[in-house]
């Protein structure tokens, strides 16, 4: 039986971690993740979980400790955000390269300087090619549900890769929403017993982790990693199907909203998708055929499926909450453009950079993008492909 509660995103994820009761958690506090790990460490202190909580001196050490614990054969979790994720950078690649199924909620925050602690996707976008799986979440419910599903995806014997669960800093991490919890035993049964693969602590079968791999073998390991990534979408869908049976909530590789018969559309990640859906409803009421696509599995990026869902549109705006300095467009735009590249007939694309450092994304920003798309669909003319919105001149 589901229990309806009013909680913040951080609280919801911390509660999911309590239900999962991982073997080891090594974490370092950083706003806006602090409150999530603080809540979880209370569960440890209060004996609600059997988790070994390791307090470390930095995020680099947090991920290093997680790597050791995971290689030893434990179910391992940590959480971070923004500059903390940046400090983990070196170890992110070690975790994925060693194929360790660590789960890490990332409470999306901007990067300094200028120093800023608010919602922004620059952190996880910077780590998007680190060999981790990334699930993105619109609200507290999705962050909670993605966290539970992340363990199944990471620990699948065919996959064995670490997973980041992304949720927007403050907007989701600190806002109270109505969400549904599952029963403790339902979550425990869904996640199941942890299965090890070549654990260091199996003394009957000694193994070595992290050997030096020279040019004669390095490329084979990278090729194998690419192959595993290609198997991830099927596992994500299988896990989602099973989760739907348990919770009644449906998840896919991405969500589409009024997109099938749409002529224009927007692609946007995380919390801003909710605001956009409201504006789409208003445009639909006026007879304008608009739709939305919100990626959930961002790494590996389901290029074929997303391209197929967007190709019929006349005009499309991709909204990025991060910029790629010196690159041509925002990171989400680049992937969406790639997903459409192979089609002869495809929508005209524009890119808006919004909401950096926690700047509010308002309905008027979605309206601005949609009005521009209506014009582009009519005339086929684009004034400027990429621009910042909600910024003072």
């Amino acid at each position: 039986m589901a229990k309806v509660v009013a909680v913040t995103g951080n609280e919801a994820v911390a509660n999911a971690l309590r239900q999962i009761d991982p073997d080891v958690c090594a974490a370092y506090p950083i706003t806006p993740q602090t409150d999530m790990m603080q809540r979880f460490s209370s569960f440890v202190s209060d004996g609600k979980v059997g988790t070994e909580m390791i307090l470390v001196e930095s995020e680099h050490s947090a991920m290093s400790a997680c790597i050791g614990a995971s290689a030893a054969g434990g179910r391992v979790v940590t959480a971070t955000c923004g500059p903390g994720l940046a400090l983990m950078w070196e170890m992110l690649f070690v975790a994925s390269g060693l194929r360790l199924p660590i789960v890490m909620p990332v409470v999306n925050r901007s990067l300094s300087a200028p120093l800023n602690i608010h919602g922004d996707h620059s952190d996880a976008m910077g780590a998007r090619d680190s060999g981790w799986i990334q699930l993105w979440s619109e609200n507290a419910q999705e962050a909670h549900d993605n966290t539970i599903q992340a363990f199944r995806i990471a620990e699948d014997m065919e996959i064995r890769l670490p997973v980041m669960v992304c949720l927007d800093g403050f907007i989701i991490s600190h806002s109270i929403e109505r969400i549904e919890y599952l029963e403790d035993n339902e979550v425990k049964n869904f996640v199941g017993e942890y299965k090890t693969l070549n654990p260091l602590l199996d003394l009957e079968h000694p193994v070595s982790y992290g050997p030096l791999i020279l040019p004669d073998y390095y490329m084979e390991y990278r090729r194998a990693h690419a192959e595993i990534m290609s198997k991830v979408p099927d596992v994500v869908l299988d896990v989602a199907k099973e989760f739907e049976k348990l919770s009644g909530r449906k998840y896919g590789l991405f969500e589409t909203y009024r997109l099938d018969d749409a002529e224009i559309g927007i692609v946007i990640l995380n919390s801003a998708a909710g605001t956009s859906k409201d504006v789409i409803d208003e445009f639909r009421d006026r007879g304008i055929k608009v739709g939305l696509l919100k990626p959930r599995l961002f790494r590996p990026f389901p290029y074929e499926e997303i391209g197929d869902s967007l190709r019929h549109l006349k005009a499309l705006c991709v909204l990025d909450r991060a910029d790629a300095f010196g690159g041509s467009y925002g990171p989400l735009f680049i992937d969406i453009a790639s997903s459409l590249y192979s089609f002869k007939k495809k929508p005209v694309l524009i890119n808006k950079i919004y909401g950096l450092g926690g700047r509010d994304y308002l309905p008027e920003h979605a309206e601005l993008a949609l009005n521009e798309l209506v014009e582009i669909a009519k005339t086929g003319k684009v004034k400027v492909i990429k621009e910042y919105i909600g910024v003072r001149e």
Partner: protein, 97 residues
Amino acid sequence: MKLKGWKEITPGATVTEPGSSKNFKTGSWRTLKPKFINENCIQCLYCWLFCPDMAVTVENGKMTGFNFEFCKGCGICALECPGKKGNKAIVMEEEGK
């Protein structure tokens, strides 16, 4: 040794065969070579203890020489060797001399 393809390798480069470093000969890395001088040896076995490549051969509890298939010529054995009356039992010489 035939090199494996990407479908045959273990996940995460984990080495699952204990002691398999025996198959990886490192002797060709050497530019300096340890020379054993038996009459200066007090059989303290410091060389055997300190060698990072287990390249010091010991038979019946006595140091007998080096396994040059693995000795990288690092010189740790020569450095640690106390010798007899100030005369080292291991000295490093240039390879090929």
